[in-house]
Point group: C2
Chain length 374, copies 2
């Protein structure tokens, strides 16, 4: 089994009775709630808490933790305007909305230049970028320190598909898979994605469909609709003994290249050996070059990343090929290729037209249309 990032799988899950009474309570926003869950279950190993200033600065400037381990995105807790004052050495309880989610030992309180963070990690400080918008709402003060988290999965949707890294590792072991490719997605699986997954699955033992279900921007398709798509397509079109579906409860950063490495490393913690990186992975708008999220891996040695990035082109159905292909394998022209933009598909669904089966499986088209009609 592949080693977790940094060598040790973190587990910071505690039971509710371990939460101290009568200490300061700080407020998590949605991304921080997601991060707390991810750190707690070991998905963010070797992180044991929200970053202190030295790790934060090292990550922003060098894409590494202070100890040199590759880490490409800040994982930070921001002081909120209405939160009470805290001091280094305090133990604080962390709340999301009305619910206690965990606790933190305050090790560091530090100021950050948020637009510098944006330029380095998101490669832009344009306020139209959803990641920049997020940063613009923060105070500029971060609190770092080790955390503990409650396991509140029983209250969450998709409970059956909410495996933590320990559990996916047990699952892969039970299935006898030695090589496992993870597919990150925040979209329904259309035939283009299915093709990349199946090309990978020809070479490895198992496929983990690992949809991100943490915070996304408002116009992304809701997770419950997507989960229905995943369950349906797996049932109809994938061999059940070689596929697994579990959710990835992280928030999207839309950080493109840096998030591709982040996504890959976190999947290693789940026990995956290969990770699919398509064009413009974790991108948004036109902020990133088509291949930037693939090329960024060249900054690190294969041993540092360890999980193998499988770098693909966009896929399409080609009438002349009579099948799925990419520009790497199809010599024909655009006229032969069935290509629909996301915008076009949304327009078709809104108009009650099912996208063609060369673009998306009919069962998936129907789920999407039903969701639009609601």
């Amino acid at each position: 089994m592949i080693q977790p990032h940094g060598g040790k799988l973190v587990n910071k899950i505690i039971s509710e009775d371990r939460i101290p009474k009568n200490v300061t309570v700080l407020t998590l926003n949605e991304r921080e709630k997601n991060d707390l869950e991810m750190i707690g279950c070991g998905a963010m190993s070797p992180l044991e808490g929200f970053m202190t200033g030295s790790d934060y600065n090292s990550v922003v400037e060098k894409m590494r933790l202070e100890n040199g381990i590759v880490w490409t995105l800040p994982v930070v807790f921001s002081l909120k305007e209405d939160d009470p004052q805290v001091a280094v050495g305090d133990t604080v309880v962390l709340r999301y909305q009305d619910e206690i989610r965990g606790m933190m030992e305050v090790e560091d309180i530090f100021k950050a230049d948020l637009m510098h963070e944006a330029r380095e990690t998101l490669l832009t400080d344009d306020e139209h970028h959803p990641g920049v918008q997020y940063l613009k709402e923060l105070s500029g003060s971060y609190i770092g320190g080790k955390i503990n988290a409650l396991d509140l999965r029983d209250e969450e949707p998709f409970r059956d598909h909410r495996l933590i890294p320990e559990e996916t590792r047990i699952l892969f072991n039970k299935k006898g898979w030695k090589s496992i490719v993870a597919f990150q997605t925040r979209n329904p699986i259309h035939r283009a994605h299915e093709y990349l997954q199946k090309v990978s699955l020809e070479m490895v033992d198992g496929l983990l469909i690992h949809p991100l279900v943490g915070a996304t921007k408002a116009d992304d398709i809701p997770a419950d609709v997507r989960m229905k798509c995943y369950e349906t397509i797996l049932e109809k079109y994938y061999p059940s003994d070689r596929t697994a579906l579990s959710v990835f409860p992280a928030a999207m950063r839309y950080a493109g290249p840096r998030e591709a490495v982040f996504h890959a490393i976190l999947r290693k913690n789940y026990g995956c050996t290969h990770f699919i990186v398509g064009r413009d992975h974790a991108g948004v708008g036109d902020y990133y070059g088509t291949y930037d999220a693939q090329v960024i891996f060249d900054n690190f040695t294969p041993e540092e990343i360890d999980i193998i990035p499988l770098k693909f082109e966009h896929a399409f159905y080609c009438n002349a090929c009579d099948g799925m292909a990419t520009a790497r394998t199809c010599p024909h022209t655009g006229a032969d290729r069935v290509f629909l933009s996301g915008k076009k598909v949304r327009a078709m669904l809104n108009d009650g037209i099912l996208p063609p089966p060369e673009f998306t499986r009919p069962e998936i088209a129907q789920i999407l249309m039903d969701a639009v009609a609601k």
Copy 2:
């Protein structure tokens, strides 16, 4: 560029004026003629000649040359009944039919137990096995020693596609390919093969279609018909900037697992980094287990082999998948899958029926039918 097997690309090609006059002339059979060409051009690096007894025995017993380098099949020159006597230290000229092909320094003359060789390397001594039939016709005396070979490619068919390892390496370099997958074949390319090649091509820079055109058994499809198939399918269905066609002038041994490793290692000499190994690679009849030619690679470290074997299942068109797949990626049943045996296809062609486009591209079906009709 990947290192040749053993670290150095051999080149034992000489011009005709270097062939000595008035020395003993020995006779090459067809396989030996192929081997002489392969050794001469460096395709069999690090071999510099036909094997001496110590290398032969080491290869038969341990799948390694005496120096420990992995080598799975004997490459030997057999003394023929009508050949004149030779002694260690002699220089001899090697003739195929009426043509001088090269020369050899006689370093060793040794007896071999040919049926022991058969059992170890072919895993059978059944006389119906074409490799056993070949051995049964030999004298049992082998002559080993370094060779030199003439470059007679201008007299051979498919001259434009007869690149030696030096030349394929230059070609790959010119094309900017860093990763190249080789496809060994002694059959036309049907859609099943095309699928395996294209799955590979999604992950690597270039594809070398590398058909074996040396001695094959009589009922294999002739090389000229196959070459027409390869040229046609490449032109119609493959991106020209990512594919190359060149021939592999080796003889078939039908040695299954041992020949799979042999085929892989030789492709490394041509500069390839990946090698497709399907089910029953280089097999014949029912002599080898379905996966034996894939499993055998586990006897060696990845560094010893270096070229990466890509291990695939049989592919087929699946109507329910609406595309090509294998048992690794398709959950549907046999009824959905278009599968035709070689026997069935031959019968269809003989009856003037084109095999369906799900099995073979129409242009290829037509070439095969035209060849049958001749």
